[in-house]
């Protein structure tokens, strides 16, 4: 679909697209959409991924959050994307930058991100970074989570090993953060790919 879009755009003599994101315009109040669009535009000018910012705003709208909260969340994420890219280097793939931002939010340091990049110079670090975030979310404290991820990265483990590490941590006897009251639920037998 994307390649067809580019083909038709070039056929129409249109070399660049600078339009407001219609999703923001249609789903957010005008003032909020304007502020978010401004943050998105700024991120784009800095060469940072913009889709995570848009998804964050849409998530907030979907969940009925106040406009100010949505804008604050998008602004925070934008900052974290910038920090992540600084830690990873200017040529970092978008997926790595996004995963790095999630890690920073979870409490990891930029130095940890830089170190993972150093240990995996030719590979994406999105999965190790993601697993680091997941371990913290599962209740593992940051130093211990970092120790586990760092060991695996130093041993040149493949992505699947990192996911297996996380799966072990999320086994039923692992303490998980409490959540709100939910309907009677049975843990799904479905396992991640």
């Amino acid at each position: 679909m994307v390649s067809r879009i580019l083909l038709v755009l070039s056929a129409l003599g249109f070399s660049s697209l600078q339009a407001q994101d219609s999703r923001l315009q249609t789903r957010l109040p005008a003032e909020v959409a304007s502020q978010v669009q401004g943050l998105v535009d700024s991120a784009a000018q800095n060469g940072l991924p913009t889709e995570p910012l848009i998804q964050k705003a849409l998530e907030g709208q979907s969940k009925g959050a106040e406009g100010a909260r949505i804008v604050a969340a998008v602004r925070t994420l934008s900052g974290q994307l910038g920090e992540s890219r600084t830690a990873l280097g200017p040529d970092a793939p978008e997926a790595d930058i996004v995963a790095g931002a999630a890690c920073l939010k979870a409490g990891a340091t930029p130095a940890m991100i830089t170190e993972l990049r150093r240990l995996r110079p030719e590979q994406s670090v999105a999965v190790p970074l993601g697993v680091l975030s997941d371990l913290v979310a599962l209740g593992v404290d940051v130093p211990k989570a970092w120790e586990q991820v760092h060991s695996l990265a130093a041993a040149h483990g493949p992505d699947t090993d990192f996911l297996a590490l996380r799966d072990r941590a999320s086994a039923p006897n692992t303490k998980q953060p409490p959540g709100p009251v939910q309907p009677k639920l049975v843990p799904s037998a479905n396992s991640p790919p």
Partner: protein, 190 residues
């Protein structure tokens, strides 16, 4: 931060977009169409009941709206103006095609997900669509415009050219038909 729910505020935004679009602002036109697309799709789909006809009229509507944008006399109500184009296109389509004959293929066209044992929600939706198809086109049109698209009878009169008294009767008959068909079909859905 309050949501902007006032109709006048939304209308003004549409008016501004139309003016900007006519002045060559590409982003404004793109937003305008995206804003009203879903409503057009919904009406075309439920009135015509099959993908082929709905896509045909939606395509036609988009093109006519684009080509005639400078003739939209109330930019603040451009959504209704586009809807008027759509209603006319649908009526032309209905006049040409016997949609009852398309009923069998229409069910298949709507099954965008292969059945693996439909959920109750999917079955309920299919029942509704079958019941809609059993209404006359006039009844279906009036019902959708009144109760799904929330037009007033005065507005529907303007859109269709039919007198309000006839429209009220069509809506009444449509409700009776739906009630009868869906109560016969199952008592489990409601």
């Amino acid at each position: 931060m309050a949501l902007s729910s006032g109709l006048s505020e939304v209308s003004q935004t549409d008016a501004v977009l139309v003016q900007r679009a006519l002045a060559g602002d590409q982003a404004a036109y793109a937003e305008l169409m995206a804003r009203h697309r879903r409503r057009l799709e919904r009406y075309a789909w439920f009135l015509l009941g099959n993908r082929e006809d709905a896509e045909e009229v939606l395509q036609d509507t988009f093109l006519r709206a684009f080509r005639g944008l400078d003739r939209c006399q109330e930019p603040s109500r451009v959504g209704t103006w586009m809807f008027r184009i759509l209603v006319n296109r649908c009526r032309s389509r209905l006049a040409k095609v016997d949609l009852i004959e398309r009923g069998a293929t229409a069910d298949a066209a709507f099954a965008v997900a292969p059945s693996e044992g439909e959920s109750e929600r999917g079955e309920w939706r299919e029942e509704i669509e079958r019941a809609l198809k059993e209404l006359t086109p006039d009844q279906r049109e009036a019902f959708l415009l009144k109760h799904v698209e929330d037009f007033s009878y005065q507005e529907i009169e303007s859109l269709t050219g039919a007198p309000a008294s006839a429209l009220r009767m069509r809506v009444l008959r449509a409700c009776e038909g739906l009630r009868r068909r869906l109560r016969e079909g199952s008592r489990d859905y409601v």
